[in-house]
Amino acid sequence: MLRVAFKDLMARKRRLVTTGIAIILGIAFLSGTQVLGGVLNDSIDSLVTDVYKGYDAVVRSPEVQESAFGEFRPPVDADVVDQVRTAEGIRAAYGIIEAPTVQLIGSDGKVISSGFGPPTLVFNWIDDPIRPGRLNAGRGPEADDEMAMDFATAEDNGFSIGDRVEVVGQKQTAEFTLVGLLGLGDEGNLTSGVKPLYFTDTVAQELAGSPGQYSYIAAAAVEGVSEEQLAESVSAVVPDQQVVTGDQWTEQNSEQIAQFVGILTTTVTVFGVIAVVVASFIIYNTFSIIVAQRTRETALLRAIGAHRRQVVLATLIEAALVGLVASVVGLIGGTLLATGIKALIGTAVSVQGRNCAAHPRHACHGVRSGPRGHLAVRGHPRHPRIAHTADRGHDRGGGGPYRPLDITQGMGAMLVVGGLVLIALGLTSTVDDELVFVGAGLFCILLSVAVVLGPLLAGPASRALTWPLTSRGNVTARLACENASRNPRRTAATAAALTVGVTLVVVIAVLAASIKSSVTEEIEGALGDVDLIVSAGQFSLLGVPPQVAETAGSIEGVREVSPVKFGFFRLLDDEGRRIAAENPDPDTDAEDAAGQVFGMGDDAPEGEDVVANGFEPANYFELVDLGEVVGNPEDSPGSAIAAQAEVAEERGWSVGDTIPAYFAATGEVDLTLVATFTNGLGPEDKYYLSNETVAANATPGFDIDFAVYIATDDNPGTRESVQAELEKLTEDRPDVVVQDRAEFIEAQTAIIDVFVAVVYGLLALAVIIALIGIANTLSLSVLERTREFGLLRAVGMSKRQLRWAVRAEAAVIAVFGTLLGMVIGIAFAIALATALTADDPGLLTLKLPVTQLVVITVLAALAGIVAAIPPARRAARMDVLQAISTE
């Protein structure tokens, strides 16, 4: 019987391959995402540990500013280093500069942007093993015009030792000679993706915006002194600083990164789940076809006298062999896939370089910090929220126990009911997280629609789709139509894979288009009288060079110049304290309690952390349309705060009140409410500080103009000439752009396109699997119809016609799946938009990107045809006589 099983296997190589492909795909996607998550976590852990492995204790300011973008502390003075060096048990102590305040300029003269990914960092060169990173070529910078950098950054941008490299800082652009290359690991040959640049102390301090100061101080213990002992003795000599152990420091930093990686792996896993759902449709399909094929064969075997046991054994052996081989291949494929996704994420979001890890502490800096990042959040605040919650929605929906072989109409119905209940709960706001509920509900319905409604619709849909051709008597189309609808369950299951993918694509497309159009409208409205906007490249802390704000006013035709800064601070009013009391920060409390912080604990009073834009008192509220402004924005410019009217009312503030606040750099400060306005530039745009207030209280490196708004005379041509003048003014800063309103809006909404592109990239996986599924199903169908095709060829169907019949069938399936996905997707988008705007009507106006949707459908049909090329070719190549005589 073993021989029978084996012979059978060999005789049906094609069936073997198709089953195998289905299993391989499923396993590959599942294992791929697992492997990816694991690899990311592991390598991050080890690299973070590696970067700071020289640190035994870290001395930093106890002043801390929490913000949505992370934790900021003011720098420590250089003379503290000398005090630290007097501590007992200390081998060495150095002030460290670590600041994301520079960018490199590539050989093409353009700024090398960090995008969302790990940032470019300034470090000061320290000739001691304490220094993060090991030299692997050249030497450290000794003169002020020398620098060293991460070897990967150098490689990526074609820099080699001896080259002159241009670096942009907040205040200046300067050229340095590259004298050394560094990396992580003992050999200095690993990289984290972050771009560390090393300069002499003075240069580094200047670039970081804190002359005479360091970001923090790192200390190493002599042999035999533990980290705790060192931290203890250091805190004894610098009692008014905060001291943490090297381990604690590393842990805090990797936590920050872990969060980021967590989001990343969750996202990837969500797409993995989608891919697996899609793949299970294919596996389901393949097996049901094969079981049908086998039934006849088994019956024959039984008829000629094989025992039931023998038949079962043969089947099991076949299944086991196929399963084993396919799983192994799938695992290998999954690992390769993980590498692929890594590369994909790497390029799309530039998370990291070749070693699949992020640099400690700042890996996520690019994502969370940078004034432009702030603006982006402000400009379209619901955009990240959608992405986030929608993901979670899918996660729940897709994570359920989905077993395609058991799916019956009953389960489909249950899914629909369950989905509807979830959506109802979400839409009626009976639960907190509407989006999660709506998302999960939608996913349930999507599955059930694909599985239950699909088979019912497959027949009529194929007829409708081919009608234009069949009505004119095209027999090829007629055959394609009949073949697509002869087994509606199979067609539906094949199409369902595509339906799931297309639904998600359409939801994203519709929501993105809607968000884009509402954001555009909103920015257009808010820009008021602003004609030109000067800003630095996105995701950078460089800001617009100060001379723009200083000198732009003297350009011919400029009416108003309004620089915009931004700042973080903590509101200490009653409401702020109440909020803080209700949400104690688990991190800080835990770390204080565990005694891991030596010396001063965090020295910030309890309150609510907020972000504010800076305004130019003289003209901001005239240039920008924030609705009705009450009060005089020009009052008390050194301590002015403006608030959105509703917020002010809720907090019981009225114009003229004193508002207690805290800044990490300057401590407690009394602000004066000088004005209220009715419309923020979005729901998060609640507070403004005058630019002077920001400048007076900013942590070094954060006192920057992230944009300068400019109004010009209305004379024709003035705007263009001013734009040209401004461009000349910022000539040496290739990262600074001068945009008119249209260009600005375009740039602001570009981030949506980037996001959509990344999501499309991930969904493309699902769509590709779906297409392979179509190819797979068709191959099996073609096999089943060998005799039929033989007959068709015998009575005079040409090879071309036969190929087209198969391709048209694939196109019908693909378009059917796509249209179904499109309808469901649009419905979902409407539901999601409703859920999103439940609290805030008018937040989002629904907009259907018609052209895009048509393109998607046409592409799906073409993709279906492409997917059908191999089976079609096989069908056409069949030997007619053999085909006719096939059983």
């Binding site: 008597g473 027999v475 090829t476 007629r478 055959l479 009949e482 073949n483 002869r486 005799r787 039929e788 007959l791 068709l792 060829r793 015998a794 009575v795 005079g796 169907m797 040409s798 090879k799 016609q801 007619v880 006589l881 006719i884």
Partner: protein
């Protein structure tokens, strides 16, 4: 009984198809099988010819080669004026579609198409408009008028074969090849089909070549050709069932 080795001959009727020293080998070396071992035969226009012979004698092979479904190892076959070896694959396909009709023993119909669609399939493939009056007449003759909208699975075996014959006839091909068309049918359905084929020859001047094992079926033909071991061994004009049976018995010994 005449002429054990017939040569191509022209009659006033003309020749619809034929083979000249046709040879077809399968395999090679020791295991070589001469499925056709020098067959020369003519099929006259508007005549009904039966091919008989023991199993494995090469009947189907001969028919497949004549119909352009397979190629000879040596020798030539022709349909009308055309030698098939001069045609490429695509031309052969067109030839099958436009000038040849087929009836197989089983699985003659496309299951997804209705009886009516199956009947006009070759013309639809050609993108040609069927001659509706003619098709109607064929359909009436095979008594399928009320079954045209049915799928093959909804028809009896006899009805399915009638559809197949109707399809073979509907395009007015030069010649129809039928490989054991009644092999799967009971004798009543079988004779219906045969009667119908006879009528097509007599009334419509159709040329039909049919392979059969059944002497009764062969008796409907104008002429029977006997094939043994890939060679034509004899032929019989205006055969009767008894005469054919006797001849076969004699062959068997």
């Amino acid at each position: 009984m005449s002429n054990p080795t017939p040569t191509p001959q022209t009659t006033q009727r003309g020749v619809a198809a034929g083979a000249i020293d046709a040879r077809k080998d399968y395999g090679d070396g020791d295991s070589i099988v001469h499925a056709l071992d020098g067959v020369t035969v003519n099929f006259e226009r508007a005549r009904f010819t039966a091919i008989m012979g023991p199993s494995g004698s090469g009947k189907s092979t001969l028919m497949h080669c004549l119909a352009g479904l397979d190629r000879l190892s040596a020798g030539r076959v022709f349909i009308g004026e055309t030698y098939l070896d001069t045609l490429d694959d695509a031309e052969l396909t067109t030839l099958r579609r436009d000038t040849i009709g087929f009836v197989f023993q089983a699985f003659n119909l496309i299951p997804t198409l209705t009886a009516g669609e199956n009947i006009t399939l070759p013309m639809d493939l050609a993108g040609r408009k069927p001659d509706q009056a003619w098709v109607d007449q064929v359909v009436r003759t095979v008594r399928l008028t009320d079954r045209l909208d049915h799928r093959p699975s909804e028809l009896s075996g006899g009805q399915q074969q009638r559809v197949a014959v109707a399809r073979a006839l509907s395009g007015r091909p030069e010649i129809i090849f039928a490989d054991e068309p009644t092999g799967n049918l009971d004798s009543r359905s079988g004779s219906e089909i045969l009667e119908f084929m006879r009528a097509a020859v007599d009334e419509l001047d159709q040329t039909i070549v049919m392979v059969t094992h059944d002497p009764t079926a062969a008796a409907w033909a104008d002429r029977v050709v006997f094939l043994v071991d890939g060679r034509i061994v004899d032929e019989m004009v205006s055969p009767t069932a008894e005469a054919v049976l006797d001849y076969l018995k004699q062959l068997g010994t």
